[in-house]
Subunit: 193 residues, 2 copies
Amino acid sequence: MSMCNLSVALLHHPVYNKHRQVVTTAFTNLDIHDIARTARTFGLSRYYLVTPSLEQQQLLQRVVNHWDNGWGATYNPDRREALSIVKVSANLAAAVADLQQESGRKPVTIATGAAERPGSLSFQTLRERLQQSDQQHLLLLGTGWGLTHELFEQADCILEPIRGPGEYNHLPVRSALAIMLDRLVSAPHINAT
Amino acid sequence: MSMCNLSVALLHHPVYNKHRQVVTTAFTNLDIHDIARTARTFGLSRYYLVTPSLEQQQLLQRVVNHWDNGWGATYNPDRREALSIVKVSANLAAAVADLQQESGRKPVTIATGAAERPGSLSFQTLRERLQQSDQQHLLLLGTGWGLTHELFEQADCILEPIRGPGEYNHLPVRSALAIMLDRLVSAPHINAT
């Protein structure tokens, strides 16, 4: 099982809603499975589902347990394997602390979003850093209308956004993560013509 | 609004289930929205939702209408714009005929899946073909356990699978499409180290 020094956290708080109010979003079932399968395919170490809601944490844990050691584990072993990297955390600090305990060193946090921000790392730069480092890196993804401004300020670095060829730019978080991991972790393929 | 000579069809039939039986899958709501938003972000011309089930076609059309000209159109214009490229078709032949009528020429069909198959096009080759052609190309994606063997034989060409660095390879169809479009359509970015 090949693992890399990259993990991902999907934050349900603190994120903006449509009116730029800071909210806690509810998790969606596909955010668990899609991101777990994608993260596992690219060899990520951990996928943290982050929510401060105790009820949501319990519900998430029930879904994960169902597929990890409940009836679902024998019904669909591929899903079990994907969910084996999932952990539920109350907040980002708890996820960071957990990853630090596992890897023995504080992880580098990387905020992501759809907007251009000054000082962002290019995909190429982050890819090279990952190849040259043995430190864990934690990609932060926001649900709803994205991570709050404060989170971008607190993160160790910011990753450049993914842009399509036109003006429309509303990638679902699940699709954005898939593209990020492909750009950061995949075996070389040429997309430079 | 920048458009390219690429479209996508998500087939709910003929696809395999877990036991390699040919079935018709039910659509999921996120397959509509995630793929429409991803396809629109990358400037695709059309996104065909293909199902032979009349009931499913009607239900799909209701969801699309809700966001395209119902209450949802004013509530979420971004979603409306994404869904403006969606069409519901009874089968692949109908989707191909529709795209032929729109573009004036028979589109090239491209089967996709998770398995290695002899004679597959590389992403790089298909990217170059798209850049040099004014013919429409239609990516075929299967739900469930993937497109049937017959569909791979009938398609004009086959695209190489996406591979992660390890053995586990179970990308959700939504994530696989996002990566395909990024590799085929995105502005150049270097992933060749």
